[in-house]
Symmetry: C2
Subunit: 242 residues, 2 copies
């Protein structure tokens, strides 16, 4: 394991050949281990087997490296969300919840990216490229919300899709931040973050008038919400306490 990484100059010559990528990978590992705050530029250099000054040939400073990671993170995040949304198949509500799960999965499985993206304190607003990547990711959630909003029962006032998207985002982010990674500093829960978020979203959607007892029958290709109050499922969107 410490073999490819720590190959010394002797075996690789004066020039590294792929330092930028190596630094990004090293930083990713370090952030996963010690958090975005604990990550050190010098450490990354060491892990890549170069002098502490070498990274400056590829990144203006430590923060630019962090931004690059966040950038890449937003791109992967967007890809993951796109895949989870799958253009609303097989039905809008199911796909919508898959997006929520994907959000949590990303936070859990890519803590380093998540950390760089949301917890590193880098000013996303001030970096247009990064901002754009972030908005492309959010655009997936927003597109999903648009589809969902268009499906709202006719009897109910129709919520702005943007607001719905922001609501879903804040729920997902809140759950992920507070309970997301089993890491070290996270609070313990009587249920999985996934279940917590799923119930939250279901209740929210019900509040908007959506029918939320998903059954294989419930394809929303045709308008199957003639009118009237939302159906009340026999049991809520939370399981019986074990």
């Amino acid at each position: 394991m410490s073999w490819r990484k720590e190959e010394r100059r002797a075996e690789r010559g004066y020039h590294h050949g792929n330092l930028k990528e190596a630094l990004l990978q090293a930083a990713l590992n370090l952030i996963a281990q010690k958090g975005a705050a604990g990550f050190t530029f010098a450490d990354a250099a060491r892990m890549a087997g170069v002098s502490p000054a070498a990274p400056y040939r590829h990144f203006r400073d430590r923060e630019e490296l962090l931004s690059s990671i966040a950038q890449r993170g937003f791109e992967q995040f967007e890809a993951l969300l796109t895949q989870a949304w799958d253009d609303g198949r097989p039905d809008t509500v199911t796909a919508f919840e898959r997006v929520g799960k994907a959000y949590l999965a990303f936070a859990r499985e890519e803590p380093a990216f998540y950390s760089a993206m949301f917890e590193s304190g880098i000013p996303v607003d001030l970096n247009p490229t990064l901002m754009a990547a972030s908005e492309r990711a959010f655009a997936i959630i927003r597109a999903a919300a648009e589809r969902l909003a268009a499906l709202a029962p006719p009897g109910m006032p129709r919520p702005p899709a943007l607001m719905m998207a922001l609501h879903i985002w804040s729920m997902s982010h809140g759950v992920a931040s507070l309970f997301g990674r089993g890491d070290a500093a996270r609070r313990k829960l009587p249920m999985s973050p996934e279940d917590l978020l799923e119930a939250e979203v279901l209740i929210y959607l019900r509040g908007l008038g959506f029918p939320t007892d998903r059954r294989p029958s419930a394809k929303d290709s045709a308008d199957q919400n003639p009118s009237g109050p939302p159906p009340i499922p026999p049991s809520g969107p939370w399981g019986k306490p074990k």
Copy 2:
């Protein structure tokens, strides 16, 4: 302004007299300015007018100072939430939302505390005192959720209060984290975080079957939910787009 703080040794003698408190205040200011990550032990010492080694007489290390601030933050947070909840007056739903607003207000008005509490990466779980303070704060939300749950319309399945509390917490935290402080690195919104959260909570509560068109008439001292589907307000819990 830089007068009380930077009083030098000449005017204060060898001993500071109140260094611990001075350091906490200095750290609070520094964190508010430069974030929990940017805050420096040495800076705090400088601001208090003592040598860089002096703080070690009062805090084991930089992290202990951070923990102390988080501790104090949780205490103030608890006090604020308690006051906002006001034991459910004048009615449960109104008081419940006041708690949500208080959450945002705290994040906005005490960014340094909020930062230390939720974004500094200190391991809350590993510090029993801190953990206890954190749980006392959460207990307010939980108590509010208990009261709300007890009020749920009889026709609906009753959600576990703990889960409701976690949902509300995650919404509040999500909104505060993503859009909370106008600081630097936060995303812009087409509405205020307060309005966003209020709408979110209202929709959520409606999803649980609560009547959410709050009018002065709606005191919940008596059971005013005979049965039937939740009333549908003429307009949703979001304003018309301006």
